[in-house]
Amino acid sequence: MTDDYIHTSMAKKIPGGVKIAVCISLSIIAFATRTPCTLAALFFCNIFVVMMFKAPLFIILKECRFFLVQTVIIIVLYIFKFGWPSGLFPGLTLSIQFVFFLLPGIILSHSVSPAQTARSLSVILPHHLAFVLSVCIHFIHHLMEEVNEIYEAQIMRGARITAKELCNPVNWKDVMNCLIIPSIIYGFMMARQISMAAKARKFQIHEKRTYWNG
């Protein structure tokens, strides 16, 4: 057994709840870190967590580009208020703090599988909402396929909703009439079908949570 294999299996063994708790704690700690020393310590903590959870560092760094706009706005605002050299350092410190507040969320999303998160959320959410959530996750792909079919059928009918035609604002109304409304109606129909199927399988026959054990 290689070290890498042991490390990966160890990362998988950490429960989803623990990972969520660690990442939320790291985010909250970011509020209290105001000095460069504590920020550096928090940076190493985040790196340690990335290594422990076996999160893909390259993808996380790639996603950090979304923070660039925030960083620029914060630094510009600080320079605007405190002047050129004196506003730069506090602005930079605060934007790093801001990144450290949001970074654990990204680490979490890449280290915990949706199924693990769903299990953790079902502890917090009422069981019927957890059921609805799991059904919705299950049907995302199906829903998207149906929306795509509606889109293609409407284009064949002559609706002006292709990417090129949507450059003209006159055609935006077609998106609502030919795509959004049929998709909503389909959503309603699908909800009705699933609820009838669930009822036929005696879902919610008791007040307590029921499950199929066959």
Partner: protein
Amino acid sequence: MKDINSLSKRKKLEYLLFLGFCAVFIFITKALLRLHLNIPGHSMFFMIFFLMLSNRCVPLRYSATICAILSGSLAIMFGMGKGGPLLILKFIMPAMTIDFFSYLIPTFDQKYWTCILVAALASSTKFISSFIVDYLLGMDAQLIVYHCLIKSGGAIFFGVLGSLMIPMVITRLKAYDII
């Protein structure tokens, strides 16, 4: 608005599933726009639209809030959005505003100006969530206001645009006997 207990279990599940699909639509549009646009506040366009739609289509109290809880949970699960532990607040606060105003103005979907008012107030809750984060991070008070105004300005603009579709969509759905 009916009480959730007065509905049959099947009907209740049907409504909850529809709210779940609205949450899925919010999540998908957020994901698609994030990939292609990256304009501040643009995700409010579809978020406000679907939250208002869920409020109008589902005769349950707190229907928009339930939809927001589901979409917030989906966002947490798939790592969407930039909100850290406060991510779910970004979804719940506009939804609670919509639920509250639907209680005060029960027919807000019938006029454009009421839709604009409710959407503007719902979208402006982004100011509060941004304010909380900036305040806790220790930003200068005056800069917090500027920063939050920049962030919430875009959200209000796109939220109001999204709400403008509501009267038309509701009329069409009523015509199809969906609502």
